[in-house]
Symmetry: C2
Subunit: 352 residues, 2 copies
């Protein structure tokens, strides 16, 4: 899922996101509640119609954003009280109020309010926080069911739970087990990609995914690089969201099968080839690295837009290639070849 | 012509500019000489290929930009010495050096180096400046001819002269007469839309256009609002360039047949209609005023992009309607109806 926090995948038209190959994008309940207001979005007919997106939508609850506001928020059993990052106004999120916001927004998939614990995190904090997140998930599910929550399209809205527990096996096991018992239509793994080592992340994923039902989607939140995604797919993850293809694009970082490039680099000044010679995207069909570098040098809006479009096509192509490899039962060989090529690139290139 | 000063119509893909209905866009020799360098653009195969634009190109000489650098430039008979606005480096433009830059850029239409006199301007300054501009035009034409200047497409590059003379009839008459005698393939009217009254501008245009050959294009530089364009077409002008549809878009100003709207205005918060209900553009097909207002409130890049696209379609539609009215010999009735509707709009709307 490309990330459209404020109701737009930054800098690109929704139809161009579709054309890149995405059918599902992410919005954020926290951001949209504060601005323009979920009541306004409801008046517009829901987030799909408000933003002109002709596909499916998932909204994150905003737990991650609220809990990133260190010093500005207070957690109780009831919920979390916090100050808006926009105007300092006070707000209160509870599992039920977030479910109500998500009914207003009308995504196809809604996420429960969770606490995303920081990293590193002492075991007792992680335990208390995880258990509260589980109790919140139960309350959210009850509220969701009581209101027959529907997506803007008229079908049932799917409410996904979020497994927490930091990097502790006993806590992750407890969290996954209890949430599975509650019976959600899908499960996310939260609290990763927050600073832990890649090895720890892979281990946590293995503990969790083996406990999740095979027939329900598993979603790893906030991940990641192409290699991170391969790592997680090999451990049974189905869905991802990440700002990397779009946020990094705005900083001139373009993805290719041979690693990423920073197109601000002087060596691209007279490089009249496409960003990626194998890429089928409209940017690679029409534009050169030299032109993109010029746009960034001249601080032209089109630079971020072009690299965003290219990166979206790159990530969509990666996910399509992974799906093909899975359906043809050749993921291990695919992943090995992909990693070798991506990581063998000139380090001066991949590390930029 | 939409304006693509630095090799991009700001914030929109070149193919989307084409789709709006434009076949000719403007680049700027001054800006492109400084960054990325016209030699680099030549290496890329010219400005069309460098920027991925699949239509025709005109480059302004940059005279207007150079002469706007008050205090940073010195004019002699030879040319003009000035400091770059980017890094303060010293540069020297002569009619011949600008012609050479424009050979590197390879537009289909190149403009001569001129001095765009300020407004207001004493008669003797305007006279000396206009006469030097005429001598420069003669030198540019000689250089252009001596080098068999071709556009990047391989055909002959058209060099347009620029009529100057401020708001003085004797000077405009002298300028137009001498430039016509030199025999250019097209003529621009410069030094207008620099602060004079609309009535003065219309009068100047009448003096000039009656002296220009009917079979050659007349181009009014830097104009303007929809009404300014109608005024000038009625006085025999064929071509225009203006930053209004794009620059104003980045400030949330959208054009409609009933005047322009500032979409930041609070009254659009819950306006779920399109920017312009009659507009065939992809923005009006998909997005609402409320959504565009939200994008500007949230400082999202897509806001400027959507309004730019809409305004380009609006201006392209205006020019197409003018061409139809002309070819059907009903311009006066068209212009009257257009003005009545555009200017009768709620003043709280048109003046925003």
């Amino acid at each position: 899922m490309p990330v459209g926090t404020q109701g737009t995948v930054k800098g690109v038209l929704p139809d161009d996101v579709r054309a890149a190959g995405f059918n599902l994008i992410l919005g954020n309940a926290y951001h949209l509640h504060l601005r323009p207001g979920d009541d306004l979005v409801a008046q517009a007919g829901g987030l799909h119609r408000f933003s002109g997106w002709q596909g499916a939508m998932l909204t994150d609850s905003g737990g991650f954003q609220v809990f990133s506001l260190a010093g500005l928020r207070k957690i109780t059993e009831e919920g979390v009280r916090f100050q808006s990052h926009i105007d300092g106004s006070m707000h209160h999120f509870t599992p039920e109020s977030v479910a109500a916001i998500e009914r207003n927004l009308g995504p196809d998939i809604a996420m429960v309010l969770d606490e995303c614990a920081p990293y590193p995190c002492p075991h007792d904090y992680a335990r208390d926080s995880m258990r509260r997140t589980t109790r919140w998930a139960e309350r959210a599910l009850a509220d969701h069911t009581a209101h027959d929550s529907v997506a803007a399209g008229g079908w049932e809205q799917a409410l996904f739970a979020i497994v927490q527990g930091s990097v502790y096996r006993d806590l992750r096991t407890e969290s996954a087990g209890e949430l599975v018992d509650l019976g959600f239509p899908g499960y996310a793994v939260g609290g990763l990609a927050v600073g832990e080592e890649a090895g720890q992340r892979r281990e946590c994923l293995e503990w969790v995914t083996e406990l999740l039902p095979l027939e329900k989607p598993r979603y790893l939140m906030g991940v990641g690089t192409p290699i991170d995604i391969l790592d997680a797919v090999e451990r049974g993850v189905d869905m991802f969201d990440c700002v990397m293809p779009t946020r990094n694009a705005r900083n001139a970082q373009a993805y290719t099968p041979e690693g990423s490039l920073n197109l601000r680099n002087a060596r691209f000044r007279t490089d009249f080839g496409p960003i990626d010679g194998e890429c089928p995207c409209p940017v690679c069909a029409r534009h050169t690295r030299a032109y993109v570098r010029h746009l960034f040098s001249a601080k032209e809006m089109l630079g971020p837009t072009l690299v965003t479009l290219h990166n979206l096509w790159f990530y969509a192509g990666l996910m399509q290639a992974i799906r093909s490899a899975l359906s043809e039962d050749r993921l291990p060989a695919f992943a090995r070849a992909y990693r070798n090529r991506y990581e063998a690139a000139d380090p001066g290139c991949a590390d930029e």
